[in-house]
């Protein structure tokens, strides 16, 4: 996951409701002038999400290039810290101080698009569509709204990391990690049994991506109702309940977050954990003894398609410098510039053809390259399983339902039915 979701839950309910409020006041003329054509001039405010600390040089170079290409345009770059980003966006949306070009993920773009604050790029910049991977472009299409509301920017996907030492101890073949969910459940159960419940296979309960990879249909085609309570979803949850009872899930799995399960994996308390191409560096630095027995494999999946995380650039529909804002957002997400970014850090460009670059196809024997090549390969078919309208609040609803079912406090079917009903209610009122 590119951006671990930290304190996002606190203000999540606020975000949607307040943006809905603003929509009444502020979006009166948003449909009026979508023309992004015009002279590229004026000052564009560009907001990134926690990228300044590590990539200052890259972005300053990018901005200088843009200003050289369009001498009448200026770019003012601001960067927001990791935490509290949804709250910041909603306050800016309410106060009318949203920057011209904003770094968003699809779920963050959704309330803004609904409030009429995001420019429909299919209309304003549809000519660029062909430059991007189709799946990436469509990931910013919002159910119930026409058009696409952000340029796709960088993508991420992760391999599955596993601990060969723990596999060996449990009598599992460290060279044959599980590939499908059935194999995973079997291996987890035998590991728990062999180790006398001391070593857990997984650190967390299933999230929405797991439902997706298991092959559960998450939403109906029109995007108007959630469907993860279908029999397939119940089946997945029942499996997890058995695992939890057998001690194959970490004892703190019910409250685990991406960060905490990563830590459990580093402590070598769990044997398998999803990660991203970047984690390898972290392991090397923070857990050298784990790094020595690390195994890397594809994500466990029944559909054969990995999960993809997308970051995008949204253009403010009320921007005073729309032509320049669209031009800049396109410039940042251009193939050449994304490729340069990908060489700085382990992200993957969303532009067509970039993933065929030798950088993403040729192995050079190092682990880092192996992870990168494998991830790039899986990205070509990857899907963003998380439905766009699934807000942080709804994720919490699902999480609580899963926790109840896994503990055996509620039957899986009833728990998921309740979660779906609650999410549908939030979807309607949000």
């Amino acid at each position: 996951m590119p951006i671990p979701c930290r304190a996002a839950v606190v203000g999540a309910s606020l975000v949607t409701s307040l943006i809905a409020l603003t929509a009444c006041g502020a979006s009166g003329n948003s449909g009026g002038s979508d023309s992004a054509s015009g002279k590229v001039e004026g000052q564009v405010t560009f907001q990134t999400w926690n990228l300044k600390a590590n990539f200052k040089g890259y972005f300053e170079g990018l901005i200088a290039d843009f200003e050289r290409k369009y001498p009448d345009a200026r770019v003012k770059w601001i960067d927001q810290p990791a935490e509290g980003y949804p709250e910041k966006l909603s306050a800016d949306a309410a106060g009318g101080t949203l920057p011209d070009v904003v770094n968003v993920s699809p779920d963050l773009a959704y309330p803004l698009a609904k409030a009429g604050l995001a420019l429909d790029l299919e209309r304003a910049a549809g000519k660029y569509r062909g430059e991007y991977l189709d799946g990436a472009w469509r990931s910013n299409a919002m159910p119930g709204l026409p058009g696409v509301y952000a340029f796709p920017w960088y993508l991420n996907t992760g391999p599955m990391f596993y601990n060969k030492r723990l596999f060996r101890q449990a009598g599992l073949d460290p060279e044959k990690p599980p590939k499908t969910y059935d194999q995973l459940f079997e291996a987890a159960a035998s590991m728990a049994k062999k180790s006398g419940r001391r070593t857990a296979m997984l650190a967390s309960t299933p999230a929405i991506e797991d439902f997706g990879r298991y092959g559960v249909r998450l939403m109906n085609a029109a995007g108007t109702a959630f469907t993860f309570n279908e029999p397939k979803g119940v089946e997945l949850l029942r499996h997890y309940k058995d695992l939890y009872a057998a001690g194959a899930l970490d004892s703190q799995a019910l409250t685990a977050k991406a960060e905490s399960s990563g830590r459990k994996f580093q402590q070598q308390a769990v044997a398998m954990n999803p990660g991203s191409a970047l984690d390898l560096q972290t392991f090397k630095k923070e857990a050298p003894s784990l790094y020595r027995s690390i195994g890397i494999t594809d994500t466990v999946s029944n559909t054969g398609k990995a999960n993809m995380y997308v970051q995008g650039l949204m253009v403010n529909a009320q921007s005073r410098v729309k032509p320049a804002a669209v031009a800049f957002a396109h410039f940042v997400t251009e193939r050449k510039n994304q490729m340069a970014f990908a060489r700085k850090v382990a992200i993957f460009p969303s532009t067509g053809g970039s993933l065929d670059d030798p950088y993403f196809t040729r192995e050079d024997g190092t682990d880092a390259t192996r992870v990168r090549v494998a991830a790039a390969r899986s990205l070509k078919t990857a899907v963003n399983y998380t439905p766009v309208p699934l807000s942080d609040q709804m994720k919490t609803v699902l999480r609580n339902a899963v926790a109840k079912a896994v503990q055996g406090k509620e039957p899986p079917k009833a728990a998921l039915d309740g979660a779906v009903a609650e999410c549908n209610r939030l979807l309607k009122t949000g």
Partner: protein, 282 residues
């Protein structure tokens, strides 16, 4: 052995038990901080999430602190925080003392109502009015300024109540005597009442400082320019988008906590007196 009369003899077992309990509580409260401190001193190549955790770094280094300063302008952020926190201490001490004195000693119509309003104000959760506050600040053109950060918290209702109770606890007769000697309200406030509540004032000062220094969400919402960020926001940049370096995060945490420890050490004498002084305890 000589013993002073009245000193009770503790059996060795009781003494040991007492110290063990105290040590257990100490470990609970100080342990996490020590872990942060030790993580911030650990060099590259050490397991930091080892279980059981090791507190003594094997390759102790200060490089992480230098790393923090390299990634973010940490001293600029600290200066901004200091400005806001110092101003917050000043406005809270002055404002809360004045308002508290008025509520405790002045007789005027609506005094009870005013007190009720102050108590009611404490019941409103800050998060629920944050966006409204932000829109207000924008109307006042104070968004993206440090004044905007300061304003909503500059006189806390809790502090006013603390001061009110401290003043109300003073014997009325002293002020009556001053009144007979011809002192007006200002003189009674400044010369008689205020010097008697120094302890509570120290409590207000330390709460105000901590509140401003630790606040995250409001400054985040009101500020946009990095040059104006306060330390809590700035330190958040250490959480990398792609990978966290826990050593840097720990070093940042220690930098952030240090001023609070220093302040507490300085005001400690007054602080414990103050906690007992008013009836409302923080």
């Amino acid at each position: 052995m000589n013993r002073a009369p009245g000193e009770r003899r503790l059996s060795a077992r009781q003494l040991v038990l007492r110290y063990l309990l105290l040590l257990a509580v100490l470990a609970l409260t100080v342990g996490p901080f020590l872990w942060q401190l030790s993580t911030s001193l650990k060099g590259p190549g050490e397991d930091i999430y080892r279980y059981p955790p090791s507190l003594i770094p094997r390759q102790a280094t200060l490089a992480n602190y230098a790393g923090v300063a390299r990634i973010i302008p940490v001293w600029d952020f600290a200066l901004n925080s200091l400005k806001v926190a110092a101003a917050n201490v000043l406005t809270n001490c002055v404002g809360a003392a004045l308002a508290g004195y008025a509520l405790a000693r002045m007789r005027f119509r609506g005094r009870r109502t005013a007190l009720t309003v102050f108590i009611m104000a404490m019941l409103v959760p800050v998060e629920s009015i944050m966006i409204a506050q932000f829109v207000t600040m924008r109307e006042l053109q104070l968004n993206n300024t440090l004044i905007g950060v300061l304003l909503p918290g500059c006189i806390g209702a809790m502090n006013v109540l603390l001061m009110r109770n401290a003043f109300a606890g003073l014997p009325y007769e002293v002020e009556e005597a001053a009144y007979i000697d011809g002192a007006n309200a200002w003189q009674r406030f400044a010369r008689i009442a205020l010097p008697s509540v120094k302890g509570t004032l120290a409590v207000v000062a330390i709460f105000a400082f901590m509140g401003a220094w630790d606040d995250f969400l409001w400054p985040l919402i009101v500020l946009s320019d990095q040059s104006k960020f306060t330390l809590t926001i700035g330190l958040n940049f250490l959480h990398g988008t792609f990978a966290d370096d826990q050593r840097l995060v720990a070093a940042g945490t220690v930098i952030a906590v240090l001023p609070l420890i220093v302040l507490f050490a300085c005001l400690q004498r007054y602080f414990f007196r103050g906690v007992g002084e008013g009836a409302v305890k923080g």
